[in-house]
Symmetry: C2
Subunit: 623 residues, 2 copies
């Protein structure tokens, strides 16, 4: 069947208020797919070297993908990208909810926001019509207030809103963007970029169902998922965070800034405990029957607004165990605050934990912390920090810069335990348990992002993931702590495959294998595609992101882990486990080779760019 | 569905007459697949460095694959391999007919023949029982006489026979092995190896249908083929060689030892002319509805035995246009002679054409040629040469060594037009028209084998092959004369994909795309496999073959084309086209990189061997 799949891009210039649309050809869409692929393309193509991420020359890209808005679970998502104010390099994040599907129905596949508005504005998109409007009355408000206000004044309760809170307005370097209040494009400071442009929100409403080339075939994948929904039983029952105790036991749980191995309160902050205590229900994203998102409610000792949802695993770990906090209600409150302020909870938790360790080591004193006893386990201090970060008040001004800049300012050897890569605070999983995850942290273009990483233990024993691995030609289990060539090969496939998921844009929790994902692409677009094309497209996308970072001055030496991961944890299951830095280096260079990047420098080879149908990038990389 | 697919190997030691069987595990079968994969594995593992290809230390490997004997067109085939007496390196060839399917039904998936029998023997396999028998009465006979004799004395007209004629017995370096009289494992001198072992024939009979994991799914692929049989209309109508005139016009047809571009008699030797003149019918292989094999018959000026079938394109070109011969009946006779003697028609044609050019240049004289006027177009000389080669009589002794050894002996700059690679005479297609074919000739482990090569023009315009290419992520046509990175990437996929076809062992004429082939593997074995695994397995197989050659002393400098391809043809469509040797070198080294071989030397990297699950090969390569 012929495809005919194509796309439509909305250009928004906030400096002069102009709006225009551009048709995206089928070839373009097949080459860059959507979501993360579009972001990688446009960041390299449109954002010039060395620009200020928080200045008008940065561009904020919202991108949907082929499955967005289709009748398939996990298809309400979108990807957002920009040059990161946190890392100075490539940043992208995916976000769930309903906004993505609504934008597709409104007739667009991507938005590029350029320039900077003189005064706060919001962008409205309604059935193919786009317009900019004053948002002075929304500035300083939470996403919830902004959304309610927009729905009321536009007279449509079904408008979907992507917005920032004061964290974004104040350009906290790790501010995020909220879809539908409860879903966040978290990593890399995209909310700060949105704030720097004086763009408060994008309000979307559409009524056109997206075309699907082979609806019957697509239905088969939906049906398969429904028939195999038990594969997602844990998510349905608890959402993320149900494995908290297991993670504490096996060493995966970050504790006290990734330092320690024992946290007896793990059970108290588990999603199982949430279910038994503060949870009032579960909610889902567009078209998804899984409903993995917690709804919580309580009023004592402080009220928590149920509209912001409950904390995910990453939040529970980052602000909980990693800060030594075992107070579940405080974590729920922290989650609400970060949501209302649009702050990335992983970076918030990472910077607070880092500050706590600095405080305990005497590198920060009460003189620096506005008098606050910033110790691990200090619940009130943790909550107070969130507020100060969002407002960049007192010590919050320091923390709002992220751990990498903090370590530079604080000095005293603190870089060794500034737990991030390229300036992005690490996701809440443990490289000393999962070596491939560590390699992924080191190599991910955004920094230590767990979303593009692997969970090695899934490939070390029989199971669905091992079967998926076999379909790549890696036929026997690969030990979790292995960093040999099979692990490297597996990681690149996982990263490439994840790049495709992030381009479709499809939720990463679904248990589709690679053949099924290729089948889904085929069903939606009509292309006779397969997993090799998927992997090639993934390599193209990762190579574009790599070129972006290379152009910004990143080198192989930036593909490194903080020194802490090279020593064991204090206590617990990993008290004798550490990453071997030499093996990591060797693995890194083999990864370069497999990607077609210079084996020594990690710079994509000109031949690779030609091979990947992106010869234009040769010049762009030199620009 | 669980797989459970596995295999059974028969070890035959001709030196001591011992026979034994070995079970091949499912993991082994998945890793090396069968056919070409088994050959690559066992040649590296079992044949020691530097042994005489025609001595008892060489091993002759017959291997079936997962689809062999299944109810699927093209599944009657098998692969045969050994160290080549022609190239001194890796040799394998696939062969059609019925013998492969019969061996599968007899309960075996592979045979390894070791040592050397004191006197001529044949191997009999009957429903899982193997035995060696005296073949003194068959020695000196044609495959037809041998087959008839065996069927009569064993009292079973349905016995299938693989056998050699006197070319194999006399160890002509490019003797081949015949299945069912009409199908040949042609390239590399496997028949000479069989002859050197005093093994005349393998007679097989079996009654056990091979198991298929998902018969209904397999049936879908058979049905698809039957429903799309028009895709093979040319083959059904003419067999190979129907495009002879087109090939002459576009320059693909080798003429006068690849020297010239015009051959007005092309029409006379076309399969279209065969259909209109000497053809009496068409025949097919096991389970195949296409029936692409010509049956011919005539009695004047000499009788031709219809049991040997009619000439294929490669034969018509090698002994026809390439020797300047436009006499169709002479070519049919030449084909019969080569069949009865079991000589590879491509190498026969290549050596005769080379000798003719040497003769015309005065590098050979009638003093060398037993008085024969060995000029291009001399029909009688061509026929006479075949006889002398098979008997190694007079000038035939020289020609029986192949062009590479001839050029060494003859000297006088003749190497520049000794049209082979690594000593294997080139298949009858033109690198100056199809640059990727040239690159494939240079890189194929067997030498200038057209079977593992590509036909570039298929990927330079819209059509099924371009669609197949797109499914690999190469989205736009690649010009036929291009040698850039996209072409290199395409070639390696084609070579890897062909390695899978040769391992299954599945006929290469079927228009299945890669997804379908993966589906066929899955249907037969029950493995949840896909095209990435196929390509990885293909890379594993090619890497094993590469290591075999490396161990035998081949280096990157052996991956080269004869100098003639760097200059245009005399006259015709390619009178201004040539391969650019610098571009070829660059492409070669990028190919190494994509394969995970050292980019400079072409030696597989130790990391690649680990990645490909063949760490044992690290040691083996050093042995």
């Amino acid at each position: 069947m012929a495809g005919g799949y194509n796309g439509k891009l909305l250009w928004v210039n906030l400096s002069d208020g102009s709006l225009s649309t551009e048709e995206l050809s089928e070839l373009f869409c097949r080459r860059y797919l959507g979501g993360a692929g579009f972001v990688s393309y446009y960041l390299l193509k449109e954002v010039k070297r060395g620009i200020d991420p928080l200045g008008p020359d940065n561009k904020l890209i919202f991108a949907l993908g082929p499955v967005t808005g289709a009748a398939l679970p996990g298809s309400g998502r979108n990807c957002i990208g920009a040059k990161s104010p946190l890392t100075g390099g490539f940043a992208k994040a995916e976000v769930g909810g309903f906004w993505g599907a609504e934008l597709k129905r409104a007739g667009y596949d991507a938005i590029i926001v350029e320039g900077k508005a003189e005064r706060p504005v919001y962008l409205r998109i309604h059935d193919g019509e786009a317009s900019l409007h004053d948002a002075g009355h929304l500035w300083g408000k939470s996403p919830k207030e902004a959304q309610n206000s927009l729905r009321a004044e536009l007279g449509d309760e079904r408008i979907r809103v992507a917005a920032i809170g004061i964290g974004g307005e104040n350009q906290v370097r790790y501010a995020c963007i909220a879809n539908d209040l409860r879903n966040f494009a978290g990593r890399g400071g995209l909310g700060a970029v949105m704030g720097s442009k004086n763009l408060k929100a994008i309000a979307v409403r559409g009524h056109k169902m997206p075309a699907v080339a082979q609806p019957e075939k697509l239905k088969e994948y939906r049906t398969w998922l429904l028939e195999n929904i038990t594969l997602m039983e844990g998510f349905r029952k608890y959402g993320t965070g149900g494995a908290m105790e297991r993670f504490e036991a096996n060493g995966n749980l970050p504790i006290h800034n990734f330092r320690d191995g024992v946290f007896p309160d793990a059970k108290l902050i588990s999603a199982r405990t949430i279910k038994d205590t503060i949870r009032t229900g579960m909610e889902g994203c567009f078209a998804c029957p899984v409903r993995c998102k917690k709804v919580i409610e309580f009023t004592e000792p402080y009220p928590v607004d149920p509209d912001y949802g409950g904390p995910e695993y990453e939040t529970l770990a980052a602000l909980g165990s990693n800060c030594g906090v075992g107070d579940l209600k405080a974590l729920a409150k922290a989650n609400e605050l970060c949501s209302a302020y649009t702050l990335d909870t992983i970076s918030v938790g990472g910077t607070i934990a880092f500050a706590m360790e600095c405080f305990e080591k005497g590198l920060l004193t009460t003189g620096d912390t506005d008098g606050i006893e910033l110790k691990f386990g200090n619940v009130d201090a943790m909550l107070e920090m969130i507020d100060r970060i969002a407002r960049r008040k007192g010590i919050g001004e320091l923390l709002a810069q992220g751990t990498a800049r903090m370590a530079q300012e604080i000095g005293g050897g603190s870089q060794a335990f500034a737990m991030g890569v390229k300036g992005l605070e690490a996701g809440m999983h443990e490289p000393r348990l999962k070596a491939g995850l560590g390699l992924g942290f080191a190599l991910h273009p955004s920094g230590a992002d767990h979303c593009g990483a692997m969970h090695d233990e899934l490939f070390s024993a029989e199971g669905r993931d091992l079967e998926r691995m076999k379909s790549l030609g890696i036929l026997e289990p690969v030990p979790a702590d292995d960093l040999g060539p099979r692990k490297v090969s597996l990681l690149r496939y996982i990263q490439q495959g994840r790049s495709i998921g992030d381009s479709l844009v499809l939720c990463s929790f679904f248990p589709y294998d690679y053949q099924q994902v290729a089948g889904i692409i085929s069903a939606v677009t009509g292309w006779n595609t397969g997993v090799v094309e998927m992997m090639t497209t993934g390599r193209r996308i990762l190579t574009l992101a790599r070129l972006f970072n290379t152009r910004e001055g990143f080198t192989a030496s930036d593909d490194r882990l903080p020194a802490r991961f090279f020593s064991p944890k204090t206590g617990g299951a990993l008290s004798k486990s550490a990453i071997d830095p030499e093996k990591l280096e060797k693995a890194k260079h083999y990864y370069y080779l497999l990607m077609g990047w210079d084996r020594e420098t990690g710079v994509p080879l000109p031949e690779t760019l030609e091979e990947l149908d992106i010869p234009w990038a040769v010049e762009e990389a030199r620009a």
